[in-house]
Protein backbone atom coordinates (compact mmCIF):
# COMPACT_ATOMS: atom_id res chain seq x y z
CA UNK A 1 0.00 0.00 0.00
CA UNK A 2 1.22 3.48 -0.85
CA UNK A 3 0.39 6.73 0.89
CA UNK A 4 0.46 10.44 0.27
CA UNK A 5 -0.57 13.91 1.35
CA UNK A 6 -3.42 16.06 0.12
CA UNK A 7 -3.09 19.74 0.97
CA UNK A 8 -5.54 22.59 0.50
CA UNK A 9 -4.07 26.08 0.90
CA UNK A 10 -6.65 28.66 1.91
CA UNK A 11 -6.28 32.35 2.75
CA UNK A 12 -6.37 31.77 6.52
CA UNK A 13 -5.57 28.09 7.09
CA UNK A 14 -3.80 25.27 5.29
CA UNK A 15 -5.64 21.94 5.52
CA UNK A 16 -3.38 18.90 5.42
CA UNK A 17 -4.45 15.28 5.19
CA UNK A 18 -2.74 11.89 4.95
CA UNK A 19 -4.31 9.27 2.69
CA UNK A 20 -3.72 5.73 1.59
CA UNK A 21 -3.92 5.05 -2.13
CA UNK A 22 -7.52 3.81 -1.92
CA UNK A 23 -8.50 7.31 -0.83
CA UNK A 24 -9.08 6.55 2.85
CA UNK A 25 -8.39 9.70 4.84
CA UNK A 26 -6.16 8.46 7.66
CA UNK A 27 -5.40 11.71 9.40
CA UNK A 28 -5.94 15.45 9.03
CA UNK A 29 -4.85 18.68 10.63
CA UNK A 30 -4.50 22.39 9.96
CA UNK A 31 -1.83 25.03 10.20
CA UNK A 32 -2.28 28.81 9.87
CA UNK A 33 -1.55 30.47 6.52
CA UNK A 34 1.04 33.16 7.17
CA UNK A 35 0.62 35.64 4.35
CA UNK A 36 3.12 38.24 5.63
CA UNK A 37 6.10 39.05 3.37
CA UNK A 38 4.30 38.01 0.21
CA UNK A 39 3.44 34.61 1.71
CA UNK A 40 7.06 33.46 1.70
CA UNK A 41 6.62 31.27 4.81
CA UNK A 42 3.64 29.30 3.49
CA UNK A 43 5.52 26.55 1.64
CA UNK A 44 8.28 26.19 4.28
CA UNK A 45 5.57 25.92 6.97
CA UNK A 46 3.79 23.23 4.94
CA UNK A 47 7.06 21.35 4.37
CA UNK A 48 7.92 21.49 8.08
CA UNK A 49 4.49 20.16 8.99
CA UNK A 50 4.70 17.30 6.46
CA UNK A 51 8.25 16.36 7.48
CA UNK A 52 7.36 16.44 11.16
CA UNK A 53 4.35 14.17 10.48
CA UNK A 54 6.54 11.72 8.55
CA UNK A 55 9.11 11.60 11.36
CA UNK A 56 6.65 11.44 14.21
CA UNK A 57 4.88 8.49 12.61
CA UNK A 58 8.01 6.71 11.33
CA UNK A 59 6.62 6.70 7.79
CA UNK A 60 8.89 5.03 5.23
CA UNK A 61 9.59 7.29 2.25
CA UNK A 62 9.52 4.24 -0.02
CA UNK A 63 5.78 4.00 0.45
CA UNK A 64 5.10 7.70 -0.12
CA UNK A 65 3.98 8.62 -3.60
CA UNK A 66 4.05 12.34 -2.97
CA UNK A 67 2.11 15.49 -2.24
CA UNK A 68 -0.91 16.91 -4.00
CA UNK A 69 -1.66 20.56 -3.32
CA UNK A 70 -4.49 22.92 -4.24
CA UNK A 71 -3.85 26.67 -4.28
CA UNK A 72 -6.25 29.61 -4.70
CA UNK A 73 -5.17 30.71 -8.18
CA UNK A 74 -4.28 29.35 -11.61
CA UNK A 75 -1.58 26.67 -11.85
CA UNK A 76 -0.22 25.22 -15.09
CA UNK A 77 0.28 21.52 -15.69
CA UNK A 78 4.01 22.05 -15.09
CA UNK A 79 3.35 23.67 -11.71
CA UNK A 80 3.73 27.32 -12.62
CA UNK A 81 1.66 29.35 -10.17
CA UNK A 82 0.44 32.51 -11.88
CA UNK A 83 -0.40 34.85 -8.94
CA UNK A 84 -2.51 33.87 -5.96
CA UNK A 85 -3.97 37.20 -4.84
CA UNK A 86 -5.08 35.89 -1.42
CA UNK A 87 -1.60 34.54 -0.60
CA UNK A 88 0.27 37.48 -2.15
CA UNK A 89 2.15 35.01 -4.33
CA UNK A 90 3.66 35.98 -7.67
CA UNK A 91 4.84 33.64 -10.41
CA UNK A 92 6.99 30.59 -9.58
CA UNK A 93 7.15 26.81 -9.97
CA UNK A 94 5.46 25.27 -6.94
CA UNK A 95 6.36 21.71 -7.97
CA UNK A 96 10.06 22.48 -7.82
CA UNK A 97 9.88 24.61 -4.71
CA UNK A 98 7.87 22.22 -2.53
CA UNK A 99 9.83 19.22 -3.83
CA UNK A 100 13.10 20.97 -2.84
CA UNK A 101 11.70 21.58 0.64
CA UNK A 102 10.33 18.06 1.25
CA UNK A 103 12.20 15.70 -1.07
CA UNK A 104 8.80 14.42 -2.25
CA UNK A 105 7.25 14.65 -5.73
CA UNK A 106 4.56 17.32 -5.93
CA UNK A 107 1.52 17.89 -8.13
CA UNK A 108 -0.42 21.15 -7.79
CA UNK A 109 -3.75 22.43 -9.08
CA UNK A 110 -6.26 25.21 -8.63
CA UNK A 111 -8.23 24.81 -5.39
CA UNK A 112 -11.70 24.99 -6.95
CA UNK A 113 -10.98 22.42 -9.65
CA UNK A 114 -9.16 20.24 -7.14
CA UNK A 115 -12.18 20.32 -4.82
CA UNK A 116 -14.36 19.27 -7.77
CA UNK A 117 -12.02 16.34 -8.38
CA UNK A 118 -12.30 15.39 -4.72
CA UNK A 119 -16.12 15.42 -4.84
CA UNK A 120 -16.03 13.38 -8.04
CA UNK A 121 -13.72 10.80 -6.47
CA UNK A 122 -15.14 10.37 -2.98
CA UNK A 123 -18.08 12.75 -2.60
CA UNK A 124 -21.30 13.68 -4.39
CA UNK A 125 -20.03 12.57 -7.79
CA UNK A 126 -18.59 9.24 -6.72
CA UNK A 127 -18.58 6.68 -9.55
CA UNK A 128 -18.98 9.30 -12.28
CA UNK A 129 -16.49 10.29 -14.95
CA UNK A 130 -18.27 13.44 -16.10
CA UNK A 131 -19.29 15.93 -13.45
CA UNK A 132 -20.19 19.57 -13.09
CA UNK A 133 -19.68 20.98 -9.63
CA UNK A 134 -21.31 24.31 -8.85
CA UNK A 135 -20.12 26.06 -5.73
CA UNK A 136 -22.83 28.44 -4.51
CA UNK A 137 -21.22 30.54 -1.83
CA UNK A 138 -20.68 34.28 -1.47
CA UNK A 139 -20.04 34.08 -5.20
CA UNK A 140 -20.55 31.23 -7.65
CA UNK A 141 -17.64 29.06 -8.77
CA UNK A 142 -17.38 25.65 -10.25
CA UNK A 143 -15.29 22.89 -11.68
CA UNK A 144 -15.57 20.39 -14.50
CA UNK A 145 -14.49 16.77 -14.45
CA UNK A 146 -14.46 15.35 -17.98
CA UNK A 147 -13.55 11.75 -18.68
CA UNK A 148 -12.29 11.45 -15.10
CA UNK A 149 -9.94 14.44 -15.27
CA UNK A 150 -10.31 17.99 -14.02
CA UNK A 151 -10.43 20.36 -16.95
CA UNK A 152 -8.57 23.63 -16.73
CA UNK A 153 -9.23 25.23 -20.08
CA UNK A 154 -6.87 27.61 -21.83
CA UNK A 155 -6.31 29.99 -18.90
CA UNK A 156 -7.37 27.79 -16.00
CA UNK A 157 -10.85 29.33 -16.11
CA UNK A 158 -12.85 26.26 -17.19
CA UNK A 159 -15.79 25.84 -14.83
CA UNK A 160 -15.68 29.49 -13.80
CA UNK A 161 -19.39 29.68 -14.51
CA UNK A 162 -20.30 32.44 -12.06
CA UNK A 163 -20.08 35.03 -14.81
CA UNK A 164 -22.17 33.33 -17.43
CA UNK A 165 -24.94 35.68 -18.53
CA UNK A 166 -28.29 34.71 -17.06
CA UNK A 167 -30.37 37.93 -17.29
CA UNK A 168 -29.12 40.23 -20.02
CA UNK A 169 -31.62 42.94 -18.94
CA UNK A 170 -30.16 43.31 -15.45
CA UNK A 171 -29.64 46.95 -14.46
CA UNK A 172 -27.27 46.49 -11.49
CA UNK A 173 -23.67 45.60 -12.36
CA UNK A 174 -22.00 42.44 -11.09
CA UNK A 175 -18.71 42.75 -9.18
CA UNK A 176 -17.01 41.78 -12.45
CA UNK A 177 -18.46 44.81 -14.23
CA UNK A 178 -20.82 42.86 -16.47
CA UNK A 179 -24.61 42.71 -16.11
CA UNK A 180 -26.85 39.76 -15.26
CA UNK A 181 -24.18 37.22 -14.24
CA UNK A 182 -25.18 33.92 -12.61
CA UNK A 183 -23.44 35.08 -9.43
CA UNK A 184 -25.93 37.95 -9.08
CA UNK A 185 -28.79 35.46 -8.51
CA UNK A 186 -27.49 32.01 -7.63
CA UNK A 187 -25.08 32.84 -4.80
CA UNK A 188 -25.97 33.37 -1.15
CA UNK A 189 -25.75 37.12 -1.75
CA UNK A 190 -27.86 36.64 -4.87
CA UNK A 191 -30.66 35.04 -2.86
CA UNK A 192 -30.59 38.00 -0.45
CA UNK A 193 -30.68 40.41 -3.41
CA UNK A 194 -33.71 38.59 -4.86
CA UNK A 195 -35.35 38.79 -1.43
CA UNK A 196 -34.72 42.54 -1.12
CA UNK A 197 -36.13 43.05 -4.60
CA UNK A 198 -39.23 41.06 -3.72
CA UNK A 199 -39.75 43.14 -0.55
CA UNK A 200 -39.53 46.34 -2.59
CA UNK A 201 -42.26 45.17 -4.98
CA UNK A 202 -45.20 45.57 -2.60
CA UNK A 203 -46.17 45.58 1.06
CA UNK A 204 -47.05 41.91 1.45
CA UNK A 205 -46.39 40.91 5.07
CA UNK A 206 -43.26 38.81 5.51
CA UNK A 207 -40.99 37.89 8.37
CA UNK A 208 -38.12 38.94 6.10
CA UNK A 209 -39.12 42.59 6.59
CA UNK A 210 -38.37 42.27 10.27
CA UNK A 211 -35.00 40.63 9.80
CA UNK A 212 -31.97 42.82 10.05
CA UNK A 213 -28.98 41.95 7.86
CA UNK A 214 -30.93 39.38 5.94
CA UNK A 215 -29.00 36.19 5.10
CA UNK A 216 -29.61 33.45 2.59
CA UNK A 217 -30.43 31.10 5.46
CA UNK A 218 -33.12 33.54 6.71
CA UNK A 219 -34.85 33.28 3.34
CA UNK A 220 -34.75 29.45 3.33
CA UNK A 221 -35.95 29.34 6.95
CA UNK A 222 -38.82 31.76 6.29
CA UNK A 223 -39.91 29.80 3.20
CA UNK A 224 -39.86 26.55 5.17
CA UNK A 225 -41.98 28.21 7.85
CA UNK A 226 -44.60 29.12 5.24
CA UNK A 227 -43.74 32.77 4.56
CA UNK A 228 -45.33 33.37 1.12
CA UNK A 229 -43.03 36.14 -0.16
CA UNK A 230 -39.97 34.09 0.91
CA UNK A 231 -41.39 31.14 -1.02
CA UNK A 232 -41.80 33.35 -4.08
CA UNK A 233 -38.17 34.43 -3.75
CA UNK A 234 -37.00 30.83 -3.64
CA UNK A 235 -39.22 29.96 -6.57
CA UNK A 236 -37.50 32.65 -8.65
CA UNK A 237 -34.13 31.49 -7.40
CA UNK A 238 -34.86 27.85 -8.33
CA UNK A 239 -36.00 28.86 -11.80
CA UNK A 240 -32.81 30.84 -12.41
CA UNK A 241 -30.63 28.14 -10.85
CA UNK A 242 -32.28 25.51 -13.05
CA UNK A 243 -31.71 27.55 -16.20
CA UNK A 244 -28.08 28.11 -15.28
CA UNK A 245 -27.43 24.44 -14.46
CA UNK A 246 -29.27 23.29 -17.59
CA UNK A 247 -27.16 25.54 -19.78
CA UNK A 248 -23.94 24.16 -18.35
CA UNK A 249 -25.27 20.62 -18.86
CA UNK A 250 -26.25 21.59 -22.41
CA UNK A 251 -22.56 22.29 -23.04
CA UNK A 252 -20.80 19.36 -21.35
CA UNK A 253 -23.50 16.66 -20.85
CA UNK A 254 -22.38 15.43 -17.40
CA UNK A 255 -23.64 12.41 -15.49
CA UNK A 256 -23.98 14.35 -12.27
CA UNK A 257 -24.31 17.92 -11.04
CA UNK A 258 -22.87 18.36 -7.56
CA UNK A 259 -23.85 21.49 -5.65
CA UNK A 260 -21.52 22.74 -2.94
CA UNK A 261 -20.85 25.99 -1.08
CA UNK A 262 -22.81 27.62 1.72
CA UNK A 263 -26.15 27.60 -0.13
CA UNK A 264 -25.91 23.80 -0.44
CA UNK A 265 -26.52 23.53 3.30
CA UNK A 266 -30.20 23.88 2.34
CA UNK A 267 -29.90 20.25 1.21
CA UNK A 268 -32.66 18.24 -0.44
CA UNK A 269 -35.17 21.15 -0.82
CA UNK A 270 -32.51 22.93 -2.92
CA UNK A 271 -32.06 19.90 -5.20
CA UNK A 272 -35.84 19.42 -5.47
CA UNK A 273 -36.36 23.10 -6.27
CA UNK A 274 -33.74 23.15 -9.02
CA UNK A 275 -34.95 19.82 -10.44
CA UNK A 276 -38.53 21.16 -10.58
CA UNK A 277 -37.59 23.61 -13.36
CA UNK A 278 -34.58 21.84 -14.85
CA UNK A 279 -36.36 19.92 -17.63
CA UNK A 280 -37.89 23.13 -18.93
CA UNK A 281 -34.40 24.30 -19.88
CA UNK A 282 -32.42 21.10 -20.48
CA UNK A 283 -31.87 19.39 -23.83
CA UNK A 284 -33.49 15.96 -23.68
CA UNK A 285 -30.16 14.12 -23.46
CA UNK A 286 -29.47 15.96 -20.19
CA UNK A 287 -32.77 15.36 -18.44
CA UNK A 288 -31.67 12.29 -16.52
CA UNK A 289 -28.60 13.99 -15.04
CA UNK A 290 -28.30 13.22 -11.34
CA UNK A 291 -28.25 16.09 -8.79
CA UNK A 292 -26.44 15.77 -5.52
CA UNK A 293 -25.14 17.84 -2.64
CA UNK A 294 -21.39 18.02 -2.09
CA UNK A 295 -20.43 15.61 0.69
CA UNK A 296 -16.85 16.30 1.66
CA UNK A 297 -17.26 19.82 3.01
CA UNK A 298 -13.94 21.39 3.86
CA UNK A 299 -12.09 18.16 3.09
CA UNK A 300 -12.95 18.18 -0.63
CA UNK A 301 -9.79 20.10 -1.46
CA UNK A 302 -7.53 17.68 0.40
CA UNK A 303 -9.19 14.64 -1.20
CA UNK A 304 -8.91 16.18 -4.65
CA UNK A 305 -5.32 17.30 -4.13
CA UNK A 306 -4.33 13.77 -3.14
CA UNK A 307 -6.22 12.33 -6.13
CA UNK A 308 -4.39 14.76 -8.40
CA UNK A 309 -1.08 13.47 -7.03
CA UNK A 310 -2.22 9.87 -7.29
CA UNK A 311 -3.13 10.30 -10.99
CA UNK A 312 0.03 12.23 -11.85
CA UNK A 313 2.59 10.46 -9.68
CA UNK A 314 1.01 7.12 -8.80
CA UNK A 315 2.16 5.44 -12.03
Amino acid sequence: MRYGFGIDVGGTTVKLAYFDETGALLDKWEIPTVTANRGEAILPDIAASVLSYINKNNISRENLLGIGIGVPGPVSDEGIVNRCENLFWGVFNIHEKLQDLTGLPVKAGNDATVAALGECWKGGGQGCKNMFMATLGTGVGGGLVIDGKVTLGAQGAAGEVGHMVLCRDETEPCNCGKYGCVEQYCSATGVVRLANRRMAEDNAPSVLRKTERLTCKDVFDAAAAGDAPAQEVLDRFYRLLAEFLANVCNVINPEVVVIGGGVSKAGQPLLDGAKRYFDRFAFHANRNVRFSIAQLGNDAGAYGAFKLALDALGG
Copy 2:
Protein backbone atom coordinates in the same frame (compact mmCIF):
# COMPACT_ATOMS: atom_id res chain seq x y z
CA MET B 1 5.42 6.38 -42.92
CA ARG B 2 2.05 4.92 -42.00
CA TYR B 3 -1.29 5.56 -43.68
CA GLY B 4 -4.99 5.20 -43.00
CA PHE B 5 -8.53 5.99 -44.01
CA GLY B 6 -10.86 8.67 -42.69
CA ILE B 7 -14.52 8.10 -43.48
CA ASP B 8 -17.53 10.32 -42.93
CA VAL B 9 -20.90 8.60 -43.27
CA GLY B 10 -23.69 11.00 -44.24
CA GLY B 11 -27.34 10.36 -45.02
CA THR B 12 -26.85 10.55 -48.79
CA THR B 13 -23.12 10.04 -49.45
CA VAL B 14 -20.18 8.47 -47.69
CA LYS B 15 -16.99 10.52 -47.95
CA LEU B 16 -13.79 8.48 -47.92
CA ALA B 17 -10.23 9.82 -47.77
CA TYR B 18 -6.74 8.37 -47.60
CA PHE B 19 -4.20 10.08 -45.35
CA ASP B 20 -0.59 9.73 -44.33
CA GLU B 21 0.14 9.92 -40.62
CA THR B 22 1.13 13.60 -40.79
CA GLY B 23 -2.46 14.34 -41.80
CA ALA B 24 -1.82 15.02 -45.50
CA LEU B 25 -4.97 14.14 -47.42
CA LEU B 26 -3.60 12.06 -50.31
CA ASP B 27 -6.83 11.08 -52.03
CA LYS B 28 -10.58 11.35 -51.55
CA TRP B 29 -13.75 10.04 -53.14
CA GLU B 30 -17.42 9.43 -52.41
CA ILE B 31 -19.88 6.56 -52.64
CA PRO B 32 -23.66 6.74 -52.23
CA THR B 33 -25.21 5.86 -48.86
CA VAL B 34 -27.74 3.09 -49.52
CA THR B 35 -30.19 3.29 -46.64
CA ALA B 36 -32.63 0.63 -47.93
CA ASN B 37 -33.19 -2.45 -45.69
CA ARG B 38 -32.21 -0.59 -42.52
CA GLY B 39 -28.90 0.50 -44.09
CA GLU B 40 -27.49 -3.01 -44.10
CA ALA B 41 -25.40 -2.36 -47.25
CA ILE B 42 -23.62 0.72 -45.92
CA LEU B 43 -20.71 -0.98 -44.14
CA PRO B 44 -20.20 -3.67 -46.84
CA ASP B 45 -20.17 -0.90 -49.49
CA ILE B 46 -17.58 1.03 -47.47
CA ALA B 47 -15.46 -2.10 -46.98
CA ALA B 48 -15.61 -2.93 -50.71
CA SER B 49 -14.55 0.61 -51.60
CA VAL B 50 -11.64 0.57 -49.11
CA LEU B 51 -10.45 -2.89 -50.21
CA SER B 52 -10.68 -1.96 -53.88
CA TYR B 53 -8.62 1.19 -53.16
CA ILE B 54 -5.98 -0.86 -51.33
CA ASN B 55 -5.72 -3.40 -54.17
CA LYS B 56 -5.78 -0.87 -56.99
CA ASN B 57 -2.94 1.08 -55.41
CA ASN B 58 -0.94 -1.92 -54.19
CA ILE B 59 -0.95 -0.56 -50.64
CA SER B 60 0.92 -2.76 -48.15
CA ARG B 61 -1.22 -3.65 -45.15
CA GLU B 62 1.84 -3.39 -42.94
CA ASN B 63 1.81 0.35 -43.38
CA LEU B 64 -1.91 0.76 -42.73
CA LEU B 65 -2.83 1.78 -39.20
CA GLY B 66 -6.58 1.44 -39.77
CA ILE B 67 -9.86 3.16 -40.42
CA GLY B 68 -11.45 6.04 -38.60
CA ILE B 69 -15.15 6.55 -39.19
CA GLY B 70 -17.70 9.19 -38.20
CA VAL B 71 -21.39 8.28 -38.12
CA PRO B 72 -24.48 10.48 -37.59
CA GLY B 73 -25.43 9.26 -34.12
CA PRO B 74 -23.99 8.42 -30.73
CA VAL B 75 -21.10 5.92 -30.56
CA SER B 76 -19.51 4.62 -27.37
CA ASP B 77 -15.79 4.37 -26.84
CA GLU B 78 -16.05 0.62 -27.49
CA GLY B 79 -17.77 1.21 -30.84
CA ILE B 80 -21.37 0.57 -29.86
CA VAL B 81 -23.58 2.52 -32.25
CA ASN B 82 -26.82 3.48 -30.49
CA ARG B 83 -29.24 4.20 -33.36
CA CYS B 84 -28.44 6.41 -36.34
CA GLU B 85 -31.90 7.64 -37.39
CA ASN B 86 -30.72 8.89 -40.81
CA LEU B 87 -29.15 5.53 -41.69
CA PHE B 88 -31.92 3.42 -40.12
CA TRP B 89 -29.28 1.71 -38.01
CA GLY B 90 -30.10 0.08 -34.68
CA VAL B 91 -27.63 -0.96 -31.99
CA PHE B 92 -24.45 -2.86 -32.91
CA ASN B 93 -20.66 -2.78 -32.57
CA ILE B 94 -19.29 -0.93 -35.59
CA HIS B 95 -15.66 -1.58 -34.62
CA GLU B 96 -16.17 -5.34 -34.83
CA LYS B 97 -18.36 -5.29 -37.91
CA LEU B 98 -16.15 -3.08 -40.08
CA GLN B 99 -13.01 -4.82 -38.87
CA ASP B 100 -14.53 -8.20 -39.88
CA LEU B 101 -15.29 -6.78 -43.32
CA THR B 102 -11.90 -5.16 -43.95
CA GLY B 103 -9.39 -6.88 -41.70
CA LEU B 104 -8.32 -3.43 -40.52
CA PRO B 105 -8.61 -1.95 -37.01
CA VAL B 106 -11.45 0.55 -36.72
CA LYS B 107 -12.21 3.52 -34.47
CA ALA B 108 -15.60 5.22 -34.73
CA GLY B 109 -17.07 8.43 -33.39
CA ASN B 110 -20.04 10.76 -33.75
CA ASP B 111 -19.83 12.80 -36.97
CA ALA B 112 -20.23 16.24 -35.36
CA THR B 113 -17.58 15.66 -32.70
CA VAL B 114 -15.31 14.02 -35.27
CA ALA B 115 -15.64 17.07 -37.55
CA ALA B 116 -14.69 19.27 -34.59
CA LEU B 117 -11.59 17.14 -34.05
CA GLY B 118 -10.73 17.55 -37.74
CA GLU B 119 -11.02 21.33 -37.53
CA CYS B 120 -8.91 21.34 -34.38
CA TRP B 121 -6.21 19.24 -36.03
CA LYS B 122 -5.93 20.74 -39.50
CA GLY B 123 -8.53 23.52 -39.80
CA GLY B 124 -9.63 26.64 -37.97
CA GLY B 125 -8.40 25.39 -34.61
CA GLN B 126 -4.97 24.21 -35.72
CA GLY B 127 -2.38 24.37 -32.95
CA CYS B 128 -4.98 24.56 -30.17
CA LYS B 129 -5.76 21.96 -27.51
CA ASN B 130 -9.00 23.51 -26.29
CA MET B 131 -11.59 24.39 -28.89
CA PHE B 132 -15.28 25.04 -29.17
CA MET B 133 -16.71 24.48 -32.63
CA ALA B 134 -20.16 25.89 -33.33
CA THR B 135 -21.86 24.64 -36.46
CA LEU B 136 -24.43 27.20 -37.60
CA GLY B 137 -26.47 25.47 -40.29
CA THR B 138 -30.17 24.68 -40.59
CA GLY B 139 -29.86 24.00 -36.88
CA VAL B 140 -27.02 24.68 -34.45
CA GLY B 141 -24.65 21.91 -33.42
CA GLY B 142 -21.20 21.87 -31.96
CA GLY B 143 -18.27 19.96 -30.62
CA LEU B 144 -15.77 20.37 -27.82
CA VAL B 145 -12.09 19.53 -27.94
CA ILE B 146 -10.62 19.55 -24.44
CA ASP B 147 -6.95 18.87 -23.79
CA GLY B 148 -6.63 17.68 -27.40
CA LYS B 149 -9.44 15.14 -27.25
CA VAL B 150 -13.04 15.28 -28.43
CA THR B 151 -15.37 15.20 -25.47
CA LEU B 152 -18.50 13.10 -25.67
CA GLY B 153 -20.08 13.63 -22.27
CA ALA B 154 -22.27 11.09 -20.53
CA GLN B 155 -24.66 10.41 -23.45
CA GLY B 156 -22.57 11.66 -26.37
CA ALA B 157 -24.34 15.02 -26.18
CA ALA B 158 -21.41 17.22 -25.10
CA GLY B 159 -21.20 20.20 -27.43
CA GLU B 160 -24.87 19.87 -28.42
CA VAL B 161 -25.31 23.55 -27.66
CA GLY B 162 -28.17 24.28 -30.04
CA HIS B 163 -30.68 23.85 -27.27
CA MET B 164 -29.08 26.03 -24.63
CA VAL B 165 -31.59 28.62 -23.45
CA LEU B 166 -30.90 32.05 -24.91
CA CYS B 167 -34.25 33.90 -24.59
CA ARG B 168 -36.42 32.47 -21.86
CA ASP B 169 -39.29 34.80 -22.86
CA GLU B 170 -39.63 33.35 -26.38
CA THR B 171 -43.25 32.58 -27.31
CA GLU B 172 -42.67 30.29 -30.32
CA PRO B 173 -41.51 26.76 -29.51
CA CYS B 174 -38.25 25.33 -30.85
CA ASN B 175 -38.38 22.04 -32.81
CA CYS B 176 -37.24 20.38 -29.58
CA GLY B 177 -40.36 21.61 -27.74
CA LYS B 178 -38.52 24.06 -25.49
CA TYR B 179 -38.65 27.84 -25.80
CA GLY B 180 -35.87 30.28 -26.66
CA CYS B 181 -33.16 27.81 -27.74
CA VAL B 182 -29.95 29.06 -29.39
CA GLU B 183 -31.04 27.29 -32.58
CA GLN B 184 -34.08 29.59 -32.87
CA TYR B 185 -31.79 32.61 -33.42
CA CYS B 186 -28.27 31.56 -34.36
CA SER B 187 -28.98 29.12 -37.23
CA ALA B 188 -29.62 30.02 -40.86
CA THR B 189 -33.34 29.54 -40.22
CA GLY B 190 -32.97 31.62 -37.06
CA VAL B 191 -31.59 34.57 -39.05
CA VAL B 192 -34.57 34.31 -41.42
CA ARG B 193 -36.93 34.21 -38.44
CA LEU B 194 -35.30 37.33 -36.97
CA ALA B 195 -35.70 39.02 -40.38
CA ASN B 196 -39.37 38.12 -40.64
CA ARG B 197 -39.93 39.45 -37.13
CA ARG B 198 -38.19 42.69 -38.02
CA MET B 199 -40.34 43.09 -41.14
CA ALA B 200 -43.48 42.62 -39.06
CA GLU B 201 -42.48 45.42 -36.67
CA ASP B 202 -43.12 48.35 -39.01
CA ASN B 203 -43.24 49.35 -42.67
CA ALA B 204 -39.65 50.50 -43.09
CA PRO B 205 -38.66 49.93 -46.72
CA SER B 206 -36.36 46.96 -47.22
CA VAL B 207 -35.29 44.78 -50.12
CA LEU B 208 -36.13 41.84 -47.86
CA ARG B 209 -39.85 42.59 -48.29
CA LYS B 210 -39.54 41.92 -52.01
CA THR B 211 -37.65 38.65 -51.60
CA GLU B 212 -39.68 35.46 -51.85
CA ARG B 213 -38.55 32.54 -49.71
CA LEU B 214 -36.08 34.62 -47.79
CA THR B 215 -32.75 32.91 -47.03
CA CYS B 216 -30.01 33.68 -44.53
CA LYS B 217 -27.77 34.70 -47.42
CA ASP B 218 -30.39 37.23 -48.60
CA VAL B 219 -30.21 38.94 -45.22
CA PHE B 220 -26.40 39.10 -45.26
CA ASP B 221 -26.40 40.35 -48.88
CA ALA B 222 -29.01 43.03 -48.14
CA ALA B 223 -27.10 44.21 -45.07
CA ALA B 224 -23.87 44.41 -47.09
CA ALA B 225 -25.71 46.45 -49.72
CA GLY B 226 -26.77 48.98 -47.07
CA ASP B 227 -30.34 47.87 -46.33
CA ALA B 228 -30.98 49.36 -42.87
CA PRO B 229 -33.57 46.86 -41.58
CA ALA B 230 -31.34 43.96 -42.72
CA GLN B 231 -28.46 45.57 -40.83
CA GLU B 232 -30.65 45.78 -37.74
CA VAL B 233 -31.49 42.09 -38.09
CA LEU B 234 -27.80 41.17 -38.25
CA ASP B 235 -27.05 43.42 -35.30
CA ARG B 236 -29.62 41.50 -33.20
CA PHE B 237 -28.21 38.22 -34.51
CA TYR B 238 -24.63 39.19 -33.63
CA ARG B 239 -25.66 40.20 -30.14
CA LEU B 240 -27.42 36.88 -29.54
CA LEU B 241 -24.60 34.90 -31.15
CA ALA B 242 -22.04 36.71 -28.98
CA GLU B 243 -24.00 35.96 -25.80
CA PHE B 244 -24.31 32.30 -26.77
CA LEU B 245 -20.62 31.92 -27.66
CA ALA B 246 -19.55 33.79 -24.52
CA ASN B 247 -21.63 31.51 -22.31
CA VAL B 248 -20.04 28.40 -23.81
CA CYS B 249 -16.60 29.97 -23.34
CA ASN B 250 -17.59 30.84 -19.75
CA VAL B 251 -18.01 27.09 -19.15
CA ILE B 252 -15.00 25.56 -20.91
CA ASN B 253 -12.51 28.44 -21.40
CA PRO B 254 -11.25 27.46 -24.89
CA GLU B 255 -8.33 28.95 -26.83
CA VAL B 256 -10.34 29.20 -30.02
CA VAL B 257 -13.95 29.30 -31.19
CA VAL B 258 -14.34 27.86 -34.68
CA ILE B 259 -17.56 28.66 -36.56
CA GLY B 260 -18.69 26.29 -39.28
CA GLY B 261 -21.91 25.41 -41.09
CA GLY B 262 -23.74 27.30 -43.85
CA VAL B 263 -23.90 30.60 -41.93
CA SER B 264 -20.08 30.62 -41.67
CA LYS B 265 -19.90 31.30 -45.41
CA ALA B 266 -20.51 34.92 -44.40
CA GLY B 267 -16.84 34.86 -43.33
CA GLN B 268 -15.02 37.74 -41.68
CA PRO B 269 -18.07 40.03 -41.20
CA LEU B 270 -19.64 37.24 -39.13
CA LEU B 271 -16.55 36.97 -36.90
CA ASP B 272 -16.34 40.77 -36.59
CA GLY B 273 -20.03 41.00 -35.74
CA ALA B 274 -19.84 38.37 -33.01
CA LYS B 275 -16.59 39.79 -31.63
CA ARG B 276 -18.17 43.26 -31.43
CA TYR B 277 -20.49 42.13 -28.61
CA PHE B 278 -18.51 39.23 -27.19
CA ASP B 279 -16.68 41.11 -24.43
CA ARG B 280 -19.98 42.39 -23.06
CA PHE B 281 -20.88 38.82 -22.13
CA ALA B 282 -17.53 37.05 -21.60
CA PHE B 283 -15.75 36.56 -18.28
CA HIS B 284 -12.42 38.42 -18.47
CA ALA B 285 -10.35 35.22 -18.76
CA ASN B 286 -12.20 34.44 -22.00
CA ARG B 287 -11.87 37.80 -23.71
CA ASN B 288 -8.75 36.94 -25.69
CA VAL B 289 -10.26 33.79 -27.18
CA ARG B 290 -9.53 33.57 -30.92
CA PHE B 291 -12.42 33.39 -33.41
CA SER B 292 -12.02 31.64 -36.72
CA ILE B 293 -14.05 30.24 -39.58
CA ALA B 294 -13.98 26.48 -40.18
CA GLN B 295 -11.56 25.72 -43.00
CA LEU B 296 -12.03 22.10 -44.01
CA GLY B 297 -15.61 22.29 -45.32
CA ASN B 298 -16.97 18.86 -46.19
CA ASP B 299 -13.60 17.24 -45.49
CA ALA B 300 -13.62 18.03 -41.75
CA GLY B 301 -15.32 14.72 -40.93
CA ALA B 302 -12.76 12.66 -42.87
CA TYR B 303 -9.82 14.52 -41.28
CA GLY B 304 -11.29 14.08 -37.82
CA ALA B 305 -12.15 10.43 -38.38
CA PHE B 306 -8.58 9.71 -39.44
CA LYS B 307 -7.23 11.66 -36.44
CA LEU B 308 -9.49 9.63 -34.14
CA ALA B 309 -8.00 6.43 -35.59
CA LEU B 310 -4.47 7.83 -35.38
CA ASP B 311 -4.91 8.66 -31.67
CA ALA B 312 -6.59 5.35 -30.83
CA LEU B 313 -4.67 2.95 -33.06
CA GLY B 314 -1.49 4.80 -34.01
CA GLY B 315 0.28 3.75 -30.80
